[in-house]
Amino acid sequence: MPNILMEFVNNKKVEKKDDKKFTTNVQVIDYKNKKIKN
């Protein structure tokens, strides 16, 4: 990602605060055992 983009998204963040709460979403890919776990 170019630096200029990072600069932009950070400038934008100053404009508004996001207080979103997150649920856990961790997924595992195991190609050796051909398993996908959620």
Binding site: L5, K32, I36
Partner: protein
């Protein structure tokens, strides 16, 4: 507003610029993971992002021009070892640390776990990071590899995708509509319908607004 990286992030950056390794090389990446484990004391220290993350997630070998990492410290920082100015990045990511702690992808590779950003974040950064009028063939290929991973029963979290786009993109964009378009792209990939064209269209929507926003801040 400039945020300073914390000491751990600075150490990671220093390691990424060691001269004995080639830019973007696997040797450098392996050495980094050995010296700085991605997880310690039950805490994830950093995620591997960019093309290396796509290679790990898709299990397909790719050419790499750099190593990208997301240091999960306060503040969360994006760091890479790119030589080209257009790709070089060292800066705070405004997505919250709580988001990163709760949302990530683990790939089991050679008896160890590799920690990566979620597919939604990887896909979004691929679209956003291509700051040019027409998306490159290389980026289209990488996006298609990511779309292929969604096919393996990875759950698509709409709320997460919406949060990423809302934080990272200009407010002039209709984020609800864009989220729907990207979800449609993920679903259409499963049916193999006009994928390249859809990728080009979504990139164009994002980039036209990003370029307009840059003109305003310059």
């Amino acid at each position: 507003m400039i945020s300073k990286a914390n000491e751990y992030t600075k150490e990671l950056k220093k390691h990424l610029f060691l001269k004995e390794y080639k830019v973007g090389s696997k040797d450098k990446l392996i050495n980094l993971i050995k010296k700085y484990p991605q997880k310690s004391n039950n805490k994830i220290n950093y995620l591997i992002a960019g093309s290396w993350a796509i290679e790990f997630a898709s299990n397909k070998k790719l050419k790499h021009t750099d190593i990208d990492i997301i240091s999960l410290q306060d503040p969360v920082f994006y760091v890479d070892d790119a030589k080209m100015i257009s790709e070089k990045c060292y800066g705070k990511i405004p997505l919250s640390l709580e988001y990163f702690i709760k949302n990530y992808l683990i790939v089991k590779y050679m008896d160890q776990e590799i920690y990566l950003p979620t597919l939604n974040l990887q896909l979004s950064l691929k679209f956003i990071g291509e700051l040019k009028p027409v998306i490159s063939k290389r980026a289209i290929k990488q996006i298609k590899l990511l779309l292929g991973v969604y096919e393996k029963n990875i759950v698509t979290d709409l709320n997460e995708l919406h949060y990423i786009l809302k934080i990272l993109l200009p407010k002039e964009l209709d984020i609800d509509l864009l989220t729907k378009k990207i979800i449609k792209l993920i679903n259409n990939y499963k049916q193999k319908k006009n994928i390249d064209l859809e990728i080009i269209k979504i990139h164009k929507i994002i980039n036209s607004k990003l370029l307009e926003a840059f003109k305003k801040i310059k």
